[in-house]
Amino acid sequence: MSYEIKTPELGTIGLLRWLWRQLTSMRTALILLLLLGVASIPGSIIPQRNQDPTQVQQYFVNNPTLAKVFDKFSLFNLYSSTWFSAIYLLLFISLIGCVLPRTWEHFKNIRALPPLTPKNLIRLEEFRTFESRKSADEILVIARAHFSKRRYRIRDCDASVAVEKGFIRESGNLLFHLSLIGVLIGVSAGVLGGMRGSAIVNEGESFTNVATSYDSLSAGRLFKLSEFPPVTLKVLKFTAIYDPLTNAPLDYSLILDVTESGKLDSRRVEVKVNKPLTFGSTRIYLQANGFSPKVTVRDNAGKIVLSGAIPFLPQDGNLTSIGAIKVPDLTPTQLGIVGSFLPTAERDKIRGGFSSYPEALNPRLLMAAWLGDLGLDTGVPQSVYRINTAKMERVGLQSLAPGQVWELPGDIGSITFDGVTKWVNLQIVRDPGKPFALLGAVFALMGLLISLFARRRRIWIRTVLGENTSSSGVIVEIAGLSRSPGLAEEIDALVKVLKEKRGDDE
């Protein structure tokens, strides 16, 4: 303690320096990288709130104690949790601390010459030696010409030449790592400045881009809805084509009329699954679809209390759908209809009523009517597809074909099944960081290719005057250093060139 008090500044600075050096070491980066991989595993096994909220709720019902523990460690929103972010932020700080100084160093060395020829070539890789009748100067001139043709950097030393190639390997490596930082910046920009919302719209209805028309909307901290130009999208027609043999969907097509703000005329566009509609950095996707039965509810005086198309949620590939019709404005008590919709209704002994095809060839609306308190005023948000029947009582069951009317029991009114229309789920996404992330990824890939395939090597050629050579020739020594394959071939090629011409002997 007292020691720290005596030299607080030196101690802190020293400690910080030490920490920084530890953090930016290769080993730390490697450990953090592996840690990031391991840390992302639970999220692929435990359901995630942003992907499947209902399954998370189910988890709480099935394993309440475990779920609470998981929740404590943010395992249901792992990828946005503090500890997960901490790992990747540390990794990127480590990366920056490691790469920036190296980039600076590399930049300074951009014109550096290869190192001087070592004394002992024999200890290096691929050592070769032979006697030549050429003079020392001739040998060095040929070697220099040979390597400058191959774009090596060349340094003349005393009776020797040092050459080097593959500087670009380090450039590629740095490009790769720097680009990863670019990807992270792009991703963060998207999270902070972006938004994502979705809305269910029936065929024939319109969606206008204001906060209240979204079914769900989440936005980054720096996003302002006012930056987002208002548009109106009218859903003209949605077509789904199915394979008659397997009932599998083949193609979805959505025709929209788009009216941008301030403009009177609209344009007609087609949106498909792989073809979203684009406005600047905002895109509109076709995400899901289903059926909306059209119903009219009348009270016992014949007055219409509810009328419209109500989206039902598909449950299977044949679009058997479930939904709820909530009628709070009926006297003397509220009415709730728990419904299921069969686009192509069939019946057998085992399954009862079921749908055998995903198109509305023989539509049926099956309904259970409940009377009592819908519980809409409790303040707890409710699913639009379900009814909380805790305070209600079932009063009847009915199945209707289009056009049919059900006189509700107890003379409280009637419900008419007018027909069916389709709904689509539009997903509206704004991601201003996307181009940066893509650019980063492309550069990272380029850097990776360069750093894995560029070959780095150093070669030295020295001429030694032979002690016992009577001729005017010299002894040539060649050796190299390389981390990549191909050094032997390169040196063989050099030896061949040096031995060529004027018929040298060995």
Binding site: L34, S40, V273, A444, L445
Partner: protein, 302 residues
Amino acid sequence: MSKTDWATLSNNFVYSSMGIIFIAFISFAFQTAWSFRVEPLAHETLKTKSMKYTKAGRIGIALAILGFIFLSAGVVARGVSAGRVPWGNMYEFSITGALAFLFAYLVTLRKYKVQWLGLIVTLAVLLTLGTAVTLLYVPTAPLAPALKSTWLVIHVCAAIISGGVFLLANCVAAAYLIMDRYEDEDGNENRPNWAKQLPTLAELDQLSYRLVALVFPLWTFAVIAGAIWAEAAWGRYWGWDPKETWAFITWVAYAAYLHARVTAGWKGKRAAWLCLFAGSTFLFNYVYVNIWGAGRHTYSGL
């Protein structure tokens, strides 16, 4: 020819290739078995062509090439019958993956002496194809709307080729670990006869590294292409869907492997284990996530 004719043709080709590769497997098995019996003294003459087991190995390779041709025909015919690239469900991924794996082996064979790997490679191909035709088979069907994209060709092709090469690198790393047991402290390799013709430990170590370094960029590309496609199809380029998460884990694992090799100078045993680990994350993604996983990559057709 009608679509069903093409589908039948494809099945016949796939079954024939399995037959051929099975005989190749038997040949490789004889090669290994006969080499057990070579007298230690005779090991100098191992390379002479007259040795029985060398012949068996050559027959094995010839048959593997023939099997490769038949399997290619099977994959192509499958594509013709579906009227699209043959990568729409897990049966098709498996037969194409087996093809890519066999191809990677045959290409490596041109540069490295890896005949001995034939036994493992043909066995792995047979297992993959066997699972495909028995458990995963589905009749040809058109593509789901989300798969109708040029990115299907680009992304899946890159992923399948990477998978084939990763698997081969795993085989080499496994061979390294087996051979490593025969090395004594002084670095002398006291291998049993059957293993004498195998490359040295250093060569095995190099080979698995080369294979990984070669396809790691392709794998990176496959992931980037997947992200671009996800952006177009699902409205986000990265969503930590289980398949994406495991693709990322594989990427991180191989990145760690390359780092360990290149910058930390890991070699030999530790590197081989890391390579095996990274490869198994890929297999896990293919098997677990396709069959039991949730998420949006539910195109396996199971």
